[in-house]
Structure formats: C-alpha cells, structure tokens
Amino acid sequence: MTHCAIDMQDVQYQYPDGSVALDGINLQVGRRERAAILGANGAGKSTLLAVMCGVLQPSRGTIKILETKLTHKTTRRLRASVGLVFQEPDNQLFMPTLWEDVAFGPLNMGLSGKEVESRVEEALEVVGLVELRDRPPHHLSVGEKKRAAIATVLAMHPKILVLDEPTSHLDPKSRADFIAFLAELHAHGDLTLITATHDVESVPLFADRAYVLDKGRIVGAGTVPEVFASPDLLAEAHLAPPILTQLFQEVPFIRERFKNEPLPLTIHDAATALRRLQFGSAGCTRQRCSLPRIRDW
C-alpha cells in the first residue's frame, strides 16, 4: 500500500510482567480509510492502540506512521498527527476545565497563544460544546465527556483519529449522534479513522475494513461485509455478526435467497433487502399487481 497511514510489521508487545499482550501484529491502514479493530474483552485492543500511537514501546517490530518510522526521535512529532481517544473519558480529561483540557495538546505543540485559542474554539465548535468551555469535566455527562475527549485531540489537527470503544456507555440517542458525528468528521476532513470496538452493531456504520483481534493476534482481516460473513472466525474471537445478519442467517428461506450476495449488516441494508424480497422476486408479483388496482379506486 503506497499511502499508508499506519503500517505495523510483526509488532510484539510484552507487559512488564513478561506476558505477551500483542504478538506478530501486521496491520496496514491506508489514508482516509475507516478501519475497525474487532476484539472481545481482553483481546488486546487498547494495548494495540497505545502501541500504534507510540504511547507504549513495542518489544519487537516496526511501526510507521504516515510513512515515518516510529523511533525515539520521531515519537513526539508523530504523536501530534495521531489523535488517540481513550475509552474512559475521565482518563483523558485531566485539566480543571474543558477549555484548559482542549488547550493542553496545542500548548504542548508550542503554538502561539492566538493559534491555541482559535484551535480550541474550533475544536469545541466541531463537537458542539462551546457553551461548556468553562465547566469542570466532572460536570459533564458521559456523552459530553466523550465528545470533549475528541475535541482535546482534534485541537491538535491530527491526520489519524484513533478511538477506543467510542460507543461504550452511550445511550441509543447519544450513540446514534456520535456515529453521525464521526461520519461527518470523516466526510469533511482528511482523516483516517481507526476504531477499536466490540460493538458489532455499530461497526458497519463507521468502518469499511475490519481486523479481528484475538488473544493479541490478528486472526482475520477484510472488508466489513467479508468479516461478518465468516461466523466461525467471529465465534472463535468471542464475537458475533450484527443481530440483523444473524436473523437473516437464521430464517431458512431468506438464507437460501441470499446465498450469492452479502447479508445485510445495518437496518438500512436489511430494509432494502426485505423490500427487494417483497417486490423483486416471483413470489411477490401478486403484490405488485395489486398496487395499480388500488390506485384505480
């Protein structure tokens, strides 16, 4: 791949106690790609992200970020281009107010006061939290904290946004909002999105490619429909396809009909597929004929 945002070759990471958390990780994510790292609890997702961003040092292997090798010398510079958003926003928001927190990264980059202020404004604007700028983080709701955590990273103008379990602890509305927000962010910017999650329902909405992580190894990779079409692989990694896909697999006559095409992954796909089932094939001609008749009335 010529334009690699992240390129990991044979990366291994050992915890200080000697246990191997990541083993032989090979992973390439292209620029502007949306990739998901799927893994069950304890599969090593968070560790993988931390190693990927240069926060933890791998014990073996090479990592390239935007075609620059991650070394002691380049780590600091590269950290600015990779924005890592932690799963638990309370770990990410450590300053007394939201404003200070968002300003933390830009100030570390040595930007001028004016530039810092405009970046903070902009980042808060993007996540829609301008009014809460002077709030201490413990006065924010979980959804607001999640967005705040993203703002702290966006203010550094990263090229790659790395999110750890972005949809966890969110209620359905906040989750939908958050996914829409990510889509918009990706559509309007020159961003590469990497998401680690086990929220299989949301994956089709914010990723095009998926990597399956199990016990510190990548056991499968491909486009999201490809990965979700292999139930055995997912089961082995303690995962499952989205519930709609399972439904389509479960009902025999639907499964028969979808033998040669991908099963739907989202509500939208499923609705389209069902409509096709209803109107598109022979069993539904009666329905189709009845429609003009109703119009005749």
């Binding site: 924005g83 007394p96 100030l107 006061g113 413990h138």
Partner: protein, 277 residues
C-alpha cells in the same frame, strides 16, 4: 463516616458557585488575593495574643460578607479543620506544667488540667482557625483555574501546580469511585454493622487498598493520555489575567490591615485585661 466525608467533598464541589458571585473578593485579581491572604496567614502564625486573633477573624468575616459568601458555608468549611486541630491539641491541657485548674479522675489516678495547657490548646486552635479562614476565603471566592493561573504567574514550582491541578480533577473521580464501592458493599451487607466488629474494619481496609490500586492504574492511563497529547514534562496554562490599580489597592490595604493587627500591641497601650488575652 464515608458518606459524611463524601458529603463534605460534594459541598466543596459546589463552591465554584460562590466564585462567580459579584462580590468584593471575586473582583480582585487572583494573584493579589493569593499573596495578600497568604500574608494574613503569615501574620496569623506570628501573632501573640488572642485579642489580635479575634480582630483578624472579624476582618476576614467582614471580607466574606463583602464578597457575598454565605457565612454558613464559610464557617462550616473551617469547622472540619478546626475540629481536627482541636483533637490534636487535646492532650496539651494535661501535659503542660503550670497552674492547676481542676482534675479529672481516671481510675485510681487523677489527671490535672493546667491553665497554661488550656491556654495553649485554645491558642493553637484559634491560630489554625484564622489561617483556615483566610485560605477558605481565597478558595471560596476564586475559581480553581484562576488559582492555578495565579500560581503559575507567581512562579510556583511547576510540579506543585501540576499535582494540584490533577489532584483537584481526580479527587471527584475517586470519591465517586469510593461511593460506588461503598454502595456495592452496603448492598451485600446483611448484618447490622458494628464499629467494634473486626470484619467491618477488614472490609474497610481492603476497600481502601482496592481504591489505591485503582488510583495507581488510573494514574498510568492518564499519563498515557498526556503522552498521547504531547506531554513532555512541561505543563502549560494559558494566562488570561490582568491586574489593575483596584487590585493593587486591595492587596496593599489587606496587607496593611494585617500588619496593623500585628503591631497594634506596640502602638496601643495594652489594658490589663487584654494583656493576658
């Protein structure tokens, strides 16, 4: 007891509310406030008579009124520390040699309470009270960030500011955590709890241990989050403070008042009553 502690902390959470009221102290630059109220603390440490303490306390209370701070909250916050100080000096009346006031029977013995001991205990407690009142005035009337900015501008050690900022931020996260752990424990406690039961204390100690481990782990994660955003050991804050003639005149005024209290016994001839006070 845990709940009580959390209640006090919860109250301190709401103190920022008073910092946005339109009062005297809220208008003063935080640096000036920090310095002049710090000066009051220094004077309080050096004072020699009880009367001076009372004058200083009166001065601080009137400042609280002028800053529209509710006196209830103002005194309640001091009460915790003052009570703590009083407990610390509890043995003093029994241990200090001097004029015996009365005795307390303890089994076959009698413990004598000396006048000097009582005097010293009261003296210490009041001294602590004045210091805490001055600092309480500072924290109640100033937003926490402003205080950090002030410390940075006054060239406090960087590490000190970082620790203060992070402690302040995470103290609430940990009290939440402790509260949840307390709830979880209570949900599984069937027998009536007794203070004397060994098991109660064992549970408490293991809870504290768990909390320490969690704090340690969280610390590691926060550090990673800081690294990911380019932390190199420097901790920078944007400064948006400015200080004018009004601020200076307040600072000088308060410092002069404190000094006046300190030197008053030299200027005003002391009456016989005030002498031992």
């Amino acid at each position: 007891m845990l709940k009580e502690l959390l209640r006090v902390l919860g109250e301190s959470l709401r103190i920022e509310r008073f910092a946005s009221r339109k009062g005297l102290l809220q208008r003063v630059d935080p640096r000036i406030k920090l310095l002049s109220l710090g000066g009051v603390v220094v004077v309080a440490v050096l004072l020699q008579t009880l009367l001076q303490f009372l004058v200083l306390l009166l001065l601080l209370t009137s400042l609280a009124v002028a800053s529209r701070l509710p006196l209830g909250a103002f005194f309640r916050r001091q009460a915790v520390v003052v009570a703590f100080a009083a407990v610390i000096v509890l043995p003093l009346p029994f241990l200090t040699p001097g004029y015996a006031l009365f005795s307390v029977p303890v089994g076959p013995w009698r413990l004598w309470v000396s006048f000097e001991g009582v005097y010293q205990a009261v003296f210490f407690t009041v001294r602590v009270w004045v210091c805490v009142a001055a600092l309480g005035l500072l924290t109640l009337s100033t937003r926490f960030v402003a205080l950090l900015h002030a410390m940075q501008r006054l060239h406090f050690p960087r590490l000190f500011i970082q620790l203060t900022a992070i402690t302040y931020r995470f103290i609430f996260v940990f009290t939440d955590e402790a509260y949840r752990m307390g709830l979880a424990r209570e949900a599984r406690t069937v027998r009536k709890e007794r203070v004397v039961r060994l098991r109660t204390w064992r549970t408490l100690s293991s809870m504290i241990g768990t909390l320490f481990i969690r704090a340690y782990e969280r610390g590691e994660k926060v550090y990673h989050a800081m690294l990911a955003r380019g932390y190199t050991g420097e901790f920078q804050l944007m400064n948006r403070l400015h200080c004018g003639a009004k601020d200076w005149s307040f600072g000088i005024g308060l410092t002069l008042a404190a000094l006046l209290v300190y030197f008053a016994p030299l200027i005003v001839p002391i009456t016989s009553i005030a002498g031992w006070l």
